[in-house]
Amino acid sequence: MEYNFVFLILLLPALSFLVLGLAGMKMPHKVAGAIGTVVLGTIFCLSIYTAYEYFIGQGRGADGLYPHVTAFNLTWLKFSELLTFNLGFRLSPISVMMLVVITTVSLMVHIYSFGYMHGEKGFQRYYAYLSLFTMSMLGLVVATNIFQMYLFWELVGVSSYLLIGFYYPQGAAVAASKKAFIVTRFADLFFLIGILIYSFYVGTFNYDLHAMPTLHEQVAGAAVMLPVALFFMFIGGAGKSAMFPLHIWLPDAMEGPTPVSALIHAATMVVAGVFLVASLFPIFVEFAPEQLHWIAYIAAFTAFYAAAVACVQSDIKRVLAFSTISQIGFMLVALGVCLPDPHTGAVAMTEEYADVQGLGYMAGMFHLFTHAMFKACLFLGAGCIIHAVHSNEKEYMGGLRKYMPITHITFLISCLAIAGIPPFSGFFSKDEILVACYNFSPVMGAVMSGIAMMTAFYMFRLYYVIFWGKSYYETHINEGAHKPHEAPLTMTFPLIFLSIITITCGFLPFGELISANGIGFHTHINWTVAGTSVALAIIGIVAATLMYKNEETPVADKLAKTFPTLHRAAYKRFYMDEVWQYVTHRIIFRLISKPIAWFDRHVIDGTFDFLAWGSNEAGESIRPWQSGDVRHYAIWFLSGAVALTLVLLYML
């Protein structure tokens, strides 16, 4: 199968960005939106077709693996004979999966935004940025080498910056966009250093170390530095994927329009770090298994931290943001608990490896897929709610199930999915992750099961607070509160579509398509683990029901009152923002930049000014000698002559 058409997948959104960016302001809103959506629809169809051809049409090669196809690979920049910077299009099982995820969610967001952004100033600009983002994200996942990934990595960063700051007259949006860009840029610095180290020792930017037999010797010598390089690259990924302590930008990024949060900050861009680790997975397993486990520990801590914070936030988008951080933690834990084959010390090409040591890889990717769908659905649902009540804060909500039935049902489905209740998709992917964790160590498994219970709790807290309990509209009807209404069809259609995927996609035979070594295996449910996790999820849901379903929430209020410090600390996100604020403002601005600027103006500039002043003064002090008075000159002349004569006489 020739994939000649795939260049269109990158080219069309790029063109749509240029057209909308250059001429968009002169277009009516509908035309601009239609251009963006039609382009997205086209590449959605192309991606589905590619996926179909890749997995079914072409199928596995003679070696039983899905081949890695490089559709094209152009030299973009040549550093030296060995190191070239290529731009290309590579199809591998995970990149094809990502193509489907990105285009699906992006298409839904394009359709949804017709309703959500209706009448907003800058509607065309919004669609232009969405096209730019989609193009960059697609370029990132199909990258043929790590440097191409870095290039598009930066581009998704900037599209995220532009979209978070979409409402630029508001100070909060500007500050949030700046923070997001700078924090991720800081992480990207490590990514870049990682790439530099990697490329030097390996002699290539490619992912496949063993595809270049001539480089083997160099690779062997690199065994010491490769773990460092790989871990640095992971730090880059941790910035984008909001791992602790680089997560601080993601909650603030919710200042952007809600569909953007659904697309960028829930489903696609934030999983770039997971995708990065997955792309480098064979190298990680072979050369840096220890670092892989560090990733698991960091991710597990992040998952716990974010889940704890999510339990007390009052802004519904922030709850979802922390829930995203926590779920990405799950994905990275899954990747991190993978082990090398005990015999070869690398990824083994057996079905058993795919099912046991490498199970986490498949589980992480599966969760990435299912999470993208239900979390996008949750965010878009939150968008409908915000649209209806004109606020993000939970006290303006409550009792909305009567007014917004479609949003209510789809939101409930997604909540059940994220909580891990069968038969929704989240159950299957989370179950695989927990099995992988228990394979690694019982402690890790137990911890992750506990976090899964917290997930169920905070999601249902959110659900009850929004859809049940006291209705703000009914209690404030005399004060002119607006009656909430269901969103238009452009907004509810994506919700329905995504929730249908959420219900069905758990039954996909994911292990047959994607696995750690490419060999298909039959996934089976481990009933002990599944039973426990469902039981825990139900406990979480029941606890949330008891605490938040009714109009009054005595238990929750009492808990908050009993542990005021803890509650407040969690509400303030354990003061991580304050810590960073301190580091950036106090240390970098006050202690580095200000003194340097002062030093420059006063010491360095002062030295040169002093030199100028010195020569001036020297000139001034010898100026009286040139008095213009002939008698003075005569005295100097005579005394000079005498002195010279004496010297000469003495010397002779």
Binding site: Y168, I182, S593, I604, A612
Partner: protein, 398 residues
């Protein structure tokens, strides 16, 4: 641009400045090179002193004196090269082929030549003319000066100091690598707290031009290619930046970022241009800065020792600090609320301004989207020169 009277004289000096710059780059002779260098310096004094703004006399004097100081060092170096190579020729290519200056002499001459040109290339600690000079100069002069004139420094450092005195360059480069690394980081940090748009850009130039010299001193083919790309890219980007600052200043009559705000609503074209210039400056892919910086970092990292590596990693941190100061300015002056009600009446760019900005953006983006041709031309030209240097230093170190 609004010029005071004496338009004719302004263009006279401006043309003379351009002559000097052109002459410098096409000289293959030490003497003519030096002469054109001087020709390019003198008009700066008048252009800033007469048509400038702010503390213009002070700045003009400072700039000229410091650069003249540099050229005093330079003339010693040039005469030294001439005499110690046998006193037969001043032709750079012949001198390069002759290559007969004793190593001990080279070590004396190298600092003279390198610092002499380094002053113009904003080498720390001889960069202080740059913030004042740029801030006081009229827009067009700032553009030409930061865009082209500062590249004379980098070009001279490479063409004369490194190529004609390769052994010394090899042995003494560590001192200057330290200085240029400081330039890169120090310039970026200083830019973070400035409040005048032109000062921010001047310090940003210190940082970026520091990177040019830094890359040249790394002396690998890739890093030198990156240095040339960076000269090209920085020239275009800074010209764009200074042009936009000039246009904004011409309307708002202030360059203080504390007094500006919300310009995106009032002058969308200029603001979008400013955002693009900012993103190009912080090295976003798709613009020339990314190509140049990545080539420099990859090239520098090819030096297989801890010192060069650490310096490279320290220089890399500038990409983060650059993002900080660029986004600070963009967030402050373009976004947010309109700072002054008078700004509401201001107009957006006129057609000639749009044309100039458009051309510069086109070049910056063109070089960033399809860099291969430019990079290949530069790399192929540098190939034999770098090979010559490497051969010479390899023999010397035996």
């Amino acid at each position: 641009m609004q010029l005071k009277p004496l338009t004719k004289e302004y263009f006279l000096w401006f043309t003379l400045l351009s002559i000097g710059v052109y002459g410098f780059f096409i000289s293959i002779d030490l003497f003519t090179m030096f002469m054109f260098y001087e020709v390019a310096l003198i008009p700066m004094y008048l252009l800033i002193g007469v048509w400038g703004s702010g503390k213009k006399e002070y700045s003009a004097m400072k700039l000229t004196l410091m650069l003249m100081g540099g050229s005093a060092l330079l003339i010693i170096g040039i005469i030294g090269i001439y005499f110690f190579s046998g006193g037969t020729t001043m032709n750079i290519l012949e001198l390069q082929a002759l290559h007969n200056i004793p190593e001990s002499v080279q070590k004396v001459l190298f600092p003279f030549v390198f610092i002499g040109f380094g002053v113009l290339g904003a080498l720390f600690p001889f960069h202080t003319w740059s913030p004042d000079g740029h801030a006081s100069a009229p827009t067009a002069v700032s553009m030409l000066h930061a865009g082209v004139l500062m590249k004379l420094g980098g070009y001279g450092c490479f063409r004369i100091a490194i190529v004609l005195l390769p052994e010394a360059a090899h042995q003494l480069s560590w001192i200057f690598i330290i200085l240029t690394t400081i330039s890169v980081v120090y310039g970026a940090f200083s830019a973070c707290v400035q409040t005048d748009l032109k000062y921010i850009n001047a310090y940003s130039s210190v940082s970026h031009c520091g990177l040019v010299l830094f890359a040249l001193l790394m002396m690998t083919q890739t890093s030198c290619t990156g240095a040339v790309l960076q000269m090209l890219s920085h020239g275009l980007m800074t010209a764009l930046f200074f042009a936009l600052i000039g246009m904004i200043y011409g309307r708002t009559h202030t360059r203080d970022i504390r007094q500006l705000g919300g310009l995106m609503k009032i002058m969308p074209f200029l603001s979008v241009g400013y955002v693009i210039a900012g993103l190009a400056n912080l090295g976003l892919p798709g613009f020339s800065g990314f190509v140049a910086e990545m080539t420099i970092f990859v090239g520098s990292f090819q030096n297989n020792d801890v010192f060069h590596r650490s310096a490279t990693i320290i220089a890399c941190t500038a990409i983060v600090i650059t993002a900080v100061y660029i986004l600070r300015v963009v967030g402050k002056i373009l976004y947010g609320k309109v700072a002054d009600p008078h700004f509401e009446e201001l107009t957006d760019a006129t057609w000639d301004e749009r044309f100039a900005v458009g051309c510069l953006i086109f070049c910056v983006a063109g070089l960033g989207i399809a860099p291969l041709w430019a990079s290949n031309i530069i790399s192929d030209t540098l190939g034999p020169i770098i090979e010559h240097i490497n051969n010479v230093t390899a023999i010397a170190s035996l």
